[in-house]
């Protein structure tokens, strides 16, 4: 058993409140009502026609993959970690790895569009930053816990 500590609980709450819930809502909007004006304004952004077309397909692909793989790993991992199970940390590490991976892709592919709209505070927090901070923290923390370090 790997009993949850204060750090574990901080990562659980951060992950569920600031990563899982917002992404679940956004991705469900995209999957259930991909062509609604609200979805387009919120996720795709208003811009040139070519950007709408490409960004729509990019988001659509990531949305489905998030719902099928990433978010279930995050949720199941959190349940496992709360129960103090080794598999919870393994799933957490996997979801953290995906979170960092997609964030690196977004940094290079769309930062130039997203950053000017939101500004540094929004970008380095809920637009992009949270996913990197949480992903890196969870990967490092999970590996340390799995190798016997008590944090």
């Amino acid at each position: 058993m790997l009993e949850p500590t204060m750090i574990t609980w901080i990562l659980i709450i951060f992950g569920l409140a600031l990563i899982f819930l917002p992404i679940l809502i956004v991705q469900l909007m995209m999957v259930l009502r991909p062509h609604s004006q609200k979805t387009w304004d919120f996720i795709i952004g208003k811009g040139e026609d070519w950007r709408d077309k490409t960004h729509f397909r990019t988001s659509y692909g990531a949305d489905w993959a998030d719902l099928v793989i990433w978010l279930p790993l995050l949720a199941a991992g959190s349940v496992g970690v709360i129960q103090g199970q080794v598999w919870g940390y393994a799933l957490w590490a996997a979801s953290g790895a995906i979170s960092v991976y997609i964030s690196i892709i977004l940094w290079f592919s769309e930062r130039e569009y997203v950053y000017p709209k939101g500004g540094p505070l929004a970008y380095y927090t809920y637009f992009w930053g949270f996913f990197v901070y949480w992903g890196v923290a969870v990967v490092v923390y999970s590996v340390l816990r799995l190798t016997g370090v008590m944090l």
Partner: protein, 151 residues
């Protein structure tokens, strides 16, 4: 699941499957390295789909694909090296890194599949056969043999 624990030479069958899945991912990273070094040639060889010299939409797609290649080099490749090294040395960090790497191996081909199914169906099917399915089987193989790895 017992068959995945059956020793075949140096490793249990499930671990061999994970190793093969990791090697398949390394093949992908090799393609990405080549693409980053010579993008146009990679498009000619069919490793990438869009050029930076096309219209605005094609350039946007090329940028996205280039971003994926960079993310593969900065994040997925190092995790893959740690995973393969750790698994071959029967260490628990190899198991953890293996789960992370193979999760990315499941995740990104799915993003690609949902993005490009209508335009590059053949490539999507190849990516799923080459990476998603082996990665999924590799995750199962590793998980069944989790007690095989030393902490």
């Amino acid at each position: 699941m017992k068959i995945l624990k059956k020793e075949v030479g140096r490793f249990p069958l499930g671990v061999w499957i994970a190793i093969v899945a990791l090697l398949a991912l390394f093949l992908g990273w090799g393609m990405q390295v080549y693409s980053l070094l010579n993008w146009d040639s990679a498009v000619d060889l069919g490793l990438q789909n869009e050029r930076f010299t096309g219209d605005a939409a094609e350039r946007a797609w090329a940028k996205e694909s280039w971003s994926v290649a960079v993310a593969d080099m900065l994040w997925a490749l190092p995790i893959g090296i740690v995973a393969l090294t750790g698994i071959l040395r029967r260490r628990f960090y190899g198991f953890a890194a293996g789960l992370m790497e193979l999760s990315i191996g499941v995740y990104f081909p799915l993003v690609f599949a949902f993005q490009r199914w209508e335009t590059y169906t053949e490539t999507v099917i190849q990516a799923i056969i080459l990476w998603t399915i082996p990665s999924l089987l590799g995750i199962v193989g590793l998980w069944v043999n989790r007690e095989y790895f030393e902490e």
